[in-house]
């Protein structure tokens, strides 16, 4: 599974709320590729045209605060974002990211060692982020095992599908 990521950084500020990730007017949309066309459009209008498959978002504190809309995580993933690293995450966005098969890693201090456009290498297994542009490395704490299992399954839908097929109801195990 792709638990290593390598990509170019889009640097975002503190307190990027779900309305900035995907404005409320687009919530009736369910097609993730259509949502991706509107990701960050109010705050970073150049994002959708410039984003490349595998790019990485690095953000400040409380990333994804506000609404429970899964649309926000999906808009980023289907725009091409491989992983989001933030000083901290709001909890529903954090769960949503893993549930749709996109890693979100809380990493206090990350915004201090990264600039817009830097190239990063992220290893989930080793708990390390290396800034390939500057050579600086930073470590992060292990993610909860259940979240890693969900991510490795490709999200909660394949994860639950496998469990249902195996006749196991426990959502943690």
């Amino acid at each position: 599974m792709g638990t290593n990521y390598s990509g170019r950084v889009w640097l975002l500020s503190d307190g990027v709320d779900t309305g900035q990730l995907i404005p409320g007017q687009y919530l009736p949309i369910t097609d993730p590729y259509e949502l991706a066309h509107h990701a960050l459009e109010a705050v970073r209008p150049e994002f959708t045209a410039g984003v490349q498959q595998g790019d990485i978002i690095v953000a400040g504190k409380n990333f994804g605060c506000g609404s429970s809309r899964e649309h926000a995580a999906k808009a980023l993933k289907f725009a091409g974002i491989s992983v989001v690293l933030a000083e901290s995450f709001a909890r529903i966005f954090f769960r949503n990211a893993f549930n749709i098969g996109m890693a979100a890693i809380p990493l206090p201090g990350i915004t201090k060692i990264v600039s817009e456009g830097d190239r990063l290498e992220v290893s989930l297994a080793e708990g390390k982020v290396k800034n390939l542009t500057t050579g600086v490395e930073i470590s992060f704490a292990q993610l909860p095992p259940v979240m890693v299992r969900i991510l490795e399954s490709g999200g909660i839908i394949p994860y639950t599908s496998d469990k249902l097929k195996a006749g196991c109801g426990d959502s943690v195990g």
Partner: protein, 429 residues
């Protein structure tokens, strides 16, 4: 102190009930049996799409599923109509009888008003403001669409048991001060991530002074500080509220005296005054008195949403608007949160007061919380709302300024044409 003799917080007790375990502790990863779920027309359609990918045909228990059409009502676009149609078909197919269609009201208000949520439940819904139901002594939290699809199939969900912040309250609320102001006070203290991943438990002698409507408003806005859930112990107010619905059978859980809390915040409610959050964050809080001095002229005022569209709010607004006129240049939208509340307001003459004052009275819906078909703002316009969020572009134009306040503050500001302290308007009766 050994682990076994440390008591449990209310959130730990509710979560323990949802597992096979006698006790759970903050930091534990648990597999919970979910008692109640809800989805609505913003995140329901995506939920149903994800559910269709799972190898099951039926939801785990149709009697525990509530569906509400409240965000894009009445179907405002072709896409919204398709979404609503999809939800109706799904409910019919699955035998989901707890289905509230267009015009019945705002989901969080319906969940409480129609007696779906009771103390001790684990309740998850595809909406961040699900925390509102903690006012009734339930563990209630928001989840995303894919996670909801998984719960619909299995009736189970994993949680990390949260640490609890204890809010110890004494004193009593003075005229013009409501649950909303307690929430804004807390936001001012802890900031928008101050309760991230945490449970918030309201305790102390003053809880008995806080109405169910204010409790719901307060729990609702704890989400804006990042809380996983917010909860009041069931008490006489809870019992009265549920008795009126003929509901008597539920567990009465209370936190243990020796429960372990992450920290305690003390509030003397007598010291609070009407508060207002400035653009563009709910934690940028000043007193209404301070804002009044800044002469903030408004173009729009909104009373409604799952934060403050309940009877207490509508009644406070009517007291201020009776015999008054909305200031020229201000559009005042009033949106009672449910159909029974709308009818009560009508029977008590409150809607007449609003219409005579020049307000616009809407059918029950979420509408002006996020400019869903009503209440959009132009750049350079200013709004004060009873809603929960004043983020950039929440009501359309990114430069529109949004202030948050309680219903009395919004009503008084609509009359004045600029943001004011409502207390002098409440005294005139």
């Amino acid at each position: 102190m050994s682990e076994s003799i440390v008591g449990s917080t209310l959130t730990e007790k509710i979560l323990a009930l949802s597992t096979d375990r006698d006790k759970v502790r903050a930091g534990d990863f648990i597999d919970s049996k979910v008692d109640l779920v809800m989805t609505h027309d913003h995140q329901g359609p995506m939920t149903l799409l994800e559910f269709s990918k799972l190898p099951v045909k039926k939801v785990w228990d149709h009697s525990r599923v509530v569906m509400v059409i409240d965000h894009r009502t009445p179907s405002q676009t072709e896409k919204a109509a398709e979404n609503h149609h999809l939800m109706r078909l799904f409910a019919k197919e699955q035998g989901i009888q707890n289905f509230y269609d267009t015009g019945e009201g705002v989901c969080h208000d319906l969940i409480a008003e129609r007696g779906h949520v009771v103390p001790g439940m684990v309740f998850v819904a595809t909406d961040s403001h699900t925390v509102t139901a903690g006012a009734l002594g339930a563990f209630a939290t928001g989840i995303g669409s894919s996670e909801m699809a998984s719960v619909l199939a299995t009736g189970r969900l994993w949680f990390m048991v949260p640490e609890t912040v204890r809010i110890e309250m004494k004193g009593s609320l003075t005229t013009g001060v409501y649950g909303k102001d307690i929430a804004l006070h807390l936001l001012r203290m802890v900031g928008t991530s101050g309760f991230d991943y945490k449970a918030v438990e309201f305790l102390g002698p003053a809880t008995g002074e806080i109405s169910m409507d204010s409790r719901m408003s307060l729990c609702n806005m704890c989400l804006e500080a990042g809380a996983k859930n917010a909860v009041f112990e069931p008490d006489e107010i809870t019992k009265d509220y549920l008795n009126q619905k003929g509901i008597q059978n539920y567990p009465i859980l209370k936190s243990d005296k020796d429960a372990k809390y992450l920290k305690q915040i003390d509030i003397d409610l007598s010291d609070l005054e009407p508060l207002v959050a400035e653009p563009y964050s709910p934690d940028k809080v000043k007193t209404a008195v301070e804002i009044e001095k800044e002469c903030v002229t408004i173009n729009q005022a909104i009373i409604g949403t799952c934060t403050n569209g309940r009877y207490e709010d509508i009644e406070a607004a009517a007291r201020i608007l009776k015999g008054k006129k909305v200031a020229p240049g201000v559009r005042l939208l009033i949106v009672p949160s449910t159909r029974p509340l709308w009818l009560r307001a009508s029977q008590e003459g409150l809607l007449d007061i609003f219409m005579q004052a020049g307000a616009i009275v809407s059918y029950p819906c979420c509408g002006p919380c996020g400019a869903y078909g009503m209440g959009a703002m132009a750049n350079d316009e200013t709004c004060i709302t009873t809603g929960s969020r004043n983020f950039v572009a929440r009501l359309g134009a990114p430069k529109a300024k949004i202030y948050l306040g309680n219903a009395a503050t919004v009503a008084a500001s609509a009359v004045a044409g600029h943001i004011v302290d409502p207390r002098s308007y409440l005294k005139e009766d």
